[in-house]
Symmetry: C2
Subunit: 347 residues, 2 copies
């Protein structure tokens, strides 16, 4: 790799391959060969071209190259960015996984349904990205069909789909483990704070975690308490007010399992506001193990967020490399991390 000059030339328009060719006194094809490291270019010729490139501060137009090659060297990442801290951590994993590859990353936040539609719309053409990574949401089938038609591979992270490679964790099991842990600590009045049921695109993790929760209760022979399952949005504040309601119940829970750490943090806040001591009077378990969890000492179900992104990127890269990839869902391990927010039932 040659060092580039530190000051680009004054020229108005950026140099094109034709300019370089002219300057070096060779044909376009030859310049292209040199640029792309093809063999069969005579030493001296190569030198001349290289010199011209340097002098002109030439850099190939990626757009033109894309058009010609029918590849973009970008990987699209569709992610509900705002909604959760965990999504960010996953994206970090993706970035890391792409690090060594020639692919760039185009990020699409799809908070609004409109934006979501638009995102998939663009990728559908197959010329915005060579591959797609969807985080915490499953693309509508119509778009999936388009993607397939356009031959652009897609892998899902934290979302299941029968005909796509997915990297997920077993949310049902996670919910069950968390709840069982609470049961083992002697708790019987265990409430749940989660998200609203998923819409057509959105994560179903919360639902699955609810299921795990219910299953654990059932296995323990406990009846489901009607007011104990609450649903809001993936936000600390909403979780907080929900938790307040819960804690003001005539028979308040002695433990709360939240479908995400973000929500668990809201629960902790509510407890603090109400002067309820954690874990003495209330045990709280979250889900995800985001950064914040460790410094507030939240017991949680750790999910390898970063790793899920990294692995997703890896799978996509493989697909892009033409390796036959199994269309199967890969389940990452969950792990209960016990910290200071849980303890035995005391009353």
């Amino acid at each position: 790799m040659e060092a580039l000059p530190d000051t680009p030339p004054k020229s108005g328009q950026p140099a094109t391959i034709a300019g370089v060719a002219a300057r070096a006194g060779v044909g376009l094809a030859t310049v292209s060969r040199v640029v792309n490291g093809h063999p069969n270019v005579a030493g001296p010729t190569r030198e001349r071209v290289l010199a011209a490139i340097l002098e002109l501060d030439y850099r190939p137009s990626s757009v033109a190259r894309n058009l010609s090659l029918r590849r973009t060297f970008v990987i699209g990442v569709v992610v509900p960015f705002f909604t959760s801290d965990s999504a960010v951590e996953r994206v970090r994993g993706i970035v890391a996984g792409l690090e060594a590859s020639p692919y760039d990353l185009a990020l699409f936040d799809v908070e609004s349904p409109d934006r979501r539609r638009r995102a998939f719309d663009m990728f559908g053409r197959g010329d915005r990205a060579d591959g797609l990574l969807a985080v915490s949401l499953v693309p509508p089938d119509a778009e999936l069909a388009r993607l397939e038609a356009a031959q652009i591979p897609c892998v899902l992270v934290d979302a299941p789909h029968p005909s796509l490679p997915c990297v997920v964790s077993d949310d049902v099991a996670g919910g069950e483990v968390a709840t069982r842990y609470l049961l083992d600590l002697g708790h019987r009045r265990i409430a749940f704070v989660g998200d609203k049921p998923p819409d057509r695109f959105r994560f179903r993790s919360s639902r699955d975690r609810t299921e795990g929760y219910l299953r654990a209760l059932a296995r323990a022979g406990l009846e489901r308490q009607p007011g104990y399952v609450r649903q809001g949005t993936q936000s600390r504040h909403v979780a907080r007010s929900i938790a307040e309601e819960l804690l003001r119940l005539p028979e308040p829970p002695t433990a709360i399992f939240a479908a995400s750490d973000t929500q668990a943090l809201g629960v902790l806040e509510a407890a603090r506001d109400l002067g309820i001591r954690v874990p003495d009077e209330l045990s709280v378990v979250g889900f995800d193990d985001i950064e914040a969890a460790s410094y507030v000492g939240l017991t949680t179900v750790r999910q390898p967020l970063f790793e899920s992104g990294r692995r997703g990127a890896e799978l996509l890269l493989q697909a892009l490399a033409g390796e036959p990839f199994a269309v199967r869902t890969e389940t990452l391990p969950l792990e209960l991390v016990v910290r200071r927010s849980t303890g035995p039932r005391k009353r």
Copy 2:
């Protein structure tokens, strides 16, 4: 806006403008006109074209269009993604600011210097993005020159530059405010935990905050204590061990000002590990006011992170729209947020 069919046609390759033209029995130019909403297309013709588009599930190739138009409709965002939570929040602001625009966002994490070089390298050509947003770092001058030559506007968020529009906050003032607050509480032994001095690209916020800290001390007539200014990386763990050292000093500080909330959280952890009570025995002030700060009750200097991103996007959009934009730095207000991590000196 017509509703698109829910199932794309089975065809192998995506439809091109030529296909649509043939199908509708018109010329390419006409299809292009219809697609781009030009006037001067007869009603019935337009209908036929529209029908063909629907039938073929045609969507224009953005690459081809980019090449022809010499625009990409993407905005590049260069950001040290991993290093700080605050950067993420800024990116969120950027996303929000771009929401209503036709521009997409391409995110470049530039953790490694290599990656950084590469990022600017690609943008230098001017065909990867129509505009550039650099977060918390200042691009090397050589690249800036290229950007200018390629006519691609660039605005900096959380980084200063004499010849570019910037959205910053007054870090020196912020550092001073935080420190003065501590002084007012009666503290005299005030330590500082910050980042290493900036390299050629990297944020200088920490340095400026240090300066504010020193200035406040000086104004109070306090001598700078040699071991009290420590520098590590923008990471909780590093800050934590630095803080431990600090707190084990023969004359430990009674207050610590950290250059970022992330680092402040590390400091809090160190205190907890050492059994030092906050705020009774140690006051801690952070900087940024990230989410986490509020739920651990960290006193901090609030910086409008989200807003800085949003505003940066706004400025860039203006530039892109051809509005003459003043090359001046815009300083966003800072605000001291007092929470539970600070209190009067007690010993």
